[in-house]
């Protein structure tokens, strides 16, 4: 899948949790991605994080980072 599309999907998820306190929104976004995205989709996250021009919201970015961290532990 294209990085832009995945970023759009992540932003959409994060937006729907935006009324939560930020840390809760990050956790909820990360949990949603963990539960519903395939490994191949999640594997794209690190590449997306590295690309500076990807339009990724702060919450989605933090969620990606959290998931990447969990994966590498």
């Amino acid at each position: 899948m294209s990085n832009d599309k995945l970023a759009y999907m992540a932003n959409q998820i994060a937006t729907n949790f935006r009324s939560m306190p930020e840390q809760e929104a990050i956790a909820a976004t990360a949990e949603h991605i963990r539960l519903f995205w395939s490994p191949s989709m999640r594997a794209e996250m690190e590449g997306i994080l590295r690309k500076p021009d990807t339009q990724l919201s702060a919450v989605a970015r933090a969620a990606f980072t959290q998931l990447s961290t969990v994966k590498t532990k």
Binding site: M1, S2, K5, Q12, N16, S19, L35, S38, S40
Partner: protein, 947 residues
């Protein structure tokens, strides 16, 4: 099974706790209070002659044949209109009654053709039966004094004939149309001997008649008779089975001659439909034996090659070889499959099992992805399980019905008839829909409020309803305190009370006047039992899941969950949407909605199936297509689903299919998707296999085979044989064994077996030790998740926006006579009502564009363009246009976009920014599709293989 007709008790039975005991012809009979003398006698196995009475409708008392004598009462009252009473002594057979009945029959027969031997109802005619029962031997008034014998037949309806010359004016058809169907299309025209049944002074086809068949069912003679019966004769055997159209799941008797269907008759014992039907289930079954059916497996190397008919063995070997090659070359996750909501639970279960255990990944999804996946997500988050809360009968106890994004008279007609009946009894209706659907105002039905919102603003609207509930003190506090998570409630209440959610603040987004919305909210919250029914107008949005949760919030806040007459009820589109979801078709969960990462659940499946299973979610349908375009997803097995027509952004779908190296399509017909396939497995219709469907009320109904599969194998057998070729053996001799495995692995199905279904007729899950007879109403004591959870549902407008280039909003849907992509109904006479998709447009928008009714117009969006005819309609609001997707030629989904629900990726079919202009030609896509429709469907050695 031999031919068994439903027993007709003459008048409706009155279930109730209070009983009365009377004597009829010397026998003591105990029945529920309110039962008629006629029904009491019939229940006791006695028979009283009758013509105008049938238990489909209320007693009428006009034919004067069911007269009885009652000790202590004068005269000979009609047994149909006389309630049974305690101590009553009734005589149904006396000399006096015999004389009266014979006299009445003489009058009837004096005006009736005596062509019984050549009559289509010969042997199936109540007039004939009653003439025999009363011992009619002569008619003193002669046989040629008839007045109606020369009446012309009305053959306009494609499915039944109206032969007025045989009508006895019993009014059963008129009353069935009113009381059962609720359409009021028929009347009695004229007086005295000139009286006759009339569909409003025009022929049936030109009338308001919706061809539900209730009048034909009610007719005691050959006046209204199925053309199939006229042509073929009366049936000789019948088998009870389940309709394969919408999510209502009506029970039918397939009435047969040998292996030929003569007619489908709705079963009174069917708990979803209780003897009623619609034009699709009742009449549109001819597709099952249509000449377009593909009866042999086919393969080809490239989609540009003609198909080559092969044996099943060759097809399985080729398909298995291709899938193994692809996995060896591109990896285990490079293939997947799609289960079908049109197939049985058992077929869905074995296919998802093949994918998880045989393919070794969780790349399984189902067509519910594009319709009700948000229902699964939203109801699980709030209530704890992914299903509607009520049975259909519950609507009979509703005082207020909130109908959101559903058009039941077209999409779920048999449920709509139940709903209309309740509305005629006085229940109040709130309709939230961008269009003025029929239920807003139709005979004897008028919505108290029509909240005509703009597409894409459901969340704002439902939040505003909840805002009124919270800020005006309408919360059912005791209920919330006892049944719900209080912390979540308080958090939600603070959110929903914010000004941004008020009707006044949301009015500019929704277009719904604040005053109207406030009145609707007050009615919902304080009008008694309030029930929500909703459809794809809720789910197919970028916030489809959010709206489902918002409705659940509203229902919990007002205490409207957990008893009859209330609830949150999804009206499922296809026959087995609920079942396909229950059976573990989603890539992230096993049957019974348990996530694949749950170790205990997964280990249970691994233990029984003898393989290791992935604990990671697989790809959803749109993700599969994206991955295919990206070059990483190379093979797919698609059962009973036509994604090239039904899924959004057709060009993207077909690009994904074209990018794959092996597409297997398993279907009845060479559908749009099959144009991009390399292997075709011919499917079997619902008449050709055993199994179960689960309807929108969680009711598991039996599907029973009435004829052998035309291609030799039922769909579940095809999947098993393909699995075997792949080296993953699944051994079942009959679908009953598959259901046994489902029951072993799925707690909510633990008590389900074919034996139980055959004994009870049907059960609603959960069906297990805690509820051995099933569960009509869910969450009655506690929510499945324990405490009901209020969810924050902030309105986030869709990114699909109107602007100067695309100033109108397109919303799509369906109509009564066609079903989904039309593969079935387009191959029936239903085309007489709808032979092309049209664009409904408001007169204001039409005039601005110089568009006249019937003009060919171009419908263009950011995704694509198609041409279709315009229909100017005030059902639309200015700025909103509407079309259906039943005809592949139209290509409605060429126009829809990739936007989808944030939680589930359910496509946003209901909101597409478009422009409309007059045109004189088809679009480029349509021209190209017409060409590929021929070139990609060639079958070697055959010249006529068009879809």
């Amino acid at each position: 099974m031999t031919f068994v007709r439903d027993r007709d008790f003459g008048t409706p039975l009155r279930p109730g706790a209070n009983t009365v005991t009377l004597r009829i012809d010397g026998r003591s009979v105990t029945v529920a209070g309110g039962t008629s003398v006629m029904a009491a006698a019939m229940q006791a196995g006695m028979s009283i002659p009758k013509l105008c009475a049938t238990d489909m409708v209320e007693a009428f008392g006009s034919c004067r044949l069911c007269l009885v004598e009652i000790d202590g009462r004068r005269g000979t009252p009609a047994s149909c209109t006389t309630p049974a009473e305690d101590g009553m002594v009734v005589h149904t057979q006396t000399d006096r009654l015999a004389k009266l009945r014979k006299g009445v029959m003489e009058l009837y027969i004096s005006d009736h053709p005596l062509d019984c031997l050549t009559c289509s109802a010969n042997g199936d005619c109540e007039l004939q039966d009653v003439a025999g029962a009363v011992g009619l031997r002569d008619v003193r008034y002669g046989y040629d004094g008839d007045k109606h014998r020369q009446e012309p037949k009305d053959e306009s309806n494609p499915y039944f004939t109206f032969d007025s010359s045989k009508c006895i004016v019993c009014s059963r058809c008129v009353r069935a149309c009113e009381e059962v169907q609720g359409t009021f299309a028929l009347t009695i025209e004229g007086r005295g001997l000139d009286s006759k049944v009339s569909p409003g002074g025009v022929d049936f086809l030109g009338s308001e008649c919706v061809s539900c068949g209730a009048c034909v069912q009610a007719c005691p003679t050959a006046t209204l008779n199925e053309k199939s019966v006229i042509q073929m004769g009366t049936p000789t055997r019948s088998v009870v089975t389940t309709c394969a159209y919408c999510g209502v799941g009506c029970s039918f008797r397939a009435e047969m001659q040998g292996d030929r269907v003569v007619r489908m008759v709705p079963s009174k014992d069917g708990k979803a439909n209780e003897g009623h039907s619609c034009v699709k289930g009742r009449f549109a079954w001819g597709y099952a034996t249509h000449s377009d059916r593909i009866r042999k497996p086919m393969i080809r190397a490239r989609i540009s090659d003609p198909w080559r008919e092969v044996t099943w063995e060759e097809a399985f070997a080729h398909a298995a070889s291709e899938f193994r090659r692809i996995q060896a070359q591109y990896g285990r996750d490079s293939i997947g499959g799609i289960t079908s909501s049109r197939c049985t639970n058992e077929e869905v279960f074995v296919l998802q099992k093949l994918i998880r255990a045989g393919f070794g990944n969780n790349n399984v999804d189902t067509c519910a992805r594009v319709c009700h996946s948000p229902t699964g997500y939203g109801l699980k988050q709030t209530f704890g399980t992914s299903a509607g809360t009520q049975d259909f009968r519950s609507v009979e106890k509703a005082d207020v019905v909130l109908l959101i994004g559903a058009n039941p008279t077209d999409g779920h007609p048999v449920f709509a008839s139940r709903l209309k009946k309740r509305l005629r009894q006085g229940a109040q209706l709130i309709v939230a829909d961008p269009r003025r659907i029929d239920l807003v105002k139709s005979p004897h039905v008028a919505a108290a409020h029509h909240l005509q919102l703009l597409p894409g603003t459901n969340v704002a609207l439902v939040n505003a309803l909840a805002h009124v509930v919270v800020t005006e003190g309408l919360v059912k506090e005791d209920y919330v305190r006892e049944r719900c998570d209080l912390e979540a409630f308080e958090h939600w209440a603070r959110f929903i009370a914010q000004d941004q959610n008020s009707p006044e603040a949301t009015e500019s987004a929704t277009g719904v006047p604040a005053r109207e919305l406030r009145a609707a909210a007050r009615l919902y919250a304080s009008g008694g039992n309030a029930a929500i029914y909703y459809g794809l107008g809720v789910t197919e949005h970028s916030q489809g899941s959010t709206t489902v949760m918002a409705m659940a919030n509203l229902a919990m806040a007002t205490g409207n969950i957990g008893r009859e007459g209330v609830g949150v009820n999804p009206l499922r589109g296809q026959n087995n949407v609920q079942g396909s979801c229950d059976m573990g078709s989603f890539p992230h969960e096993f049957s019974g909605y348990r996530h694949v990462s749950d170790d205990a659940t997964r280990e249970m499946f691994e233990s029984l199936w003898g393989v290791d299973l992935s604990d990671e979610p697989g790809l959803r349908i749109p993700n599969m297509l994206d991955e295919a375009v990206g070059g990483r997803f190379k093979g797919i097995y698609i059962q009973g689903e036509d994604i090239a027509q039904s899924d959004p952004n057709t060009k993207h779908v077909t690009a994904g299919l074209e990018a794959m190296e092996c597409v297997i399509v398993h279907d009845l017909f060479l559908n749009e998707t099959a144009k991009y396939a390399h292997v075709f497995f011919p499917g079997s219709s619902f008449l050709e296999k055993d199994g179960t469907f689960t309807n929108a009320e969680r009711r598991i109904n039996r599907v029973r085979k009435v004829m052998e599969p035309l291609a030799g194998l039922a769909d579940w057998e095809v999947t098993l044989r393909f699995a075997q070729a792949l080296g993953f053996a699944m051994k079942y001799e009959h679908p009953a064994q598959i259901m046994d495995e489902i029951a072993r692995l799925t707690p909510t199905f633990a008590g389900v077996s074919y034996e139980k279904l055959d004994a009870l007729g049907s059960v609603q899950w959960p069906c297990n030790d805690a509820a051995p007879l099933g569960t009509p109403i869910m969450h009655s004591e506690r929510f499945v998740r324990g405490k009901g959870r209020f969810m924050i549902t902030e309105f986030v407008p869709t990114d699909e926006r109107t602007g100067p280039r695309f100033p109108l909003l397109l919303t799509t849907g369906r109509i009564l006579s066609q079903y989904n992509v039309g593969a079935q109904t387009r191959r029936t006479a239903n085309n007489v009502w709808h032979d092309e998709d049209v664009l409904e447009i408001h007169p204001f928008d039409a005039e601005n564009r110089g568009v006249r009714d019937g003009d060919l117009v171009a419908l263009a969006s950011r995704s694509g363009e198609v041409s279709l005819r315009a229909r100017i309609s005030e059902r639309m609001q200015p700025g909103v246009v509407y079309t259906t997707f039943h005809h592949p030629m139209t290509g409605a989904n060429v126009v829809t976009t990739d936007y989808s629900d944030w939680a589930t990726n359910c496509p946003e079919y209901k909101v597409t920014a478009v422009e409309v202009r007059r045109t004189n030609h088809l679009s480029d896509w349509q021209e190209s599709d017409m060409e590929s429709g021929v070139s990609l469907r060639r079958i070697a050695g055959r010249a006529d293989a068009a879809e």
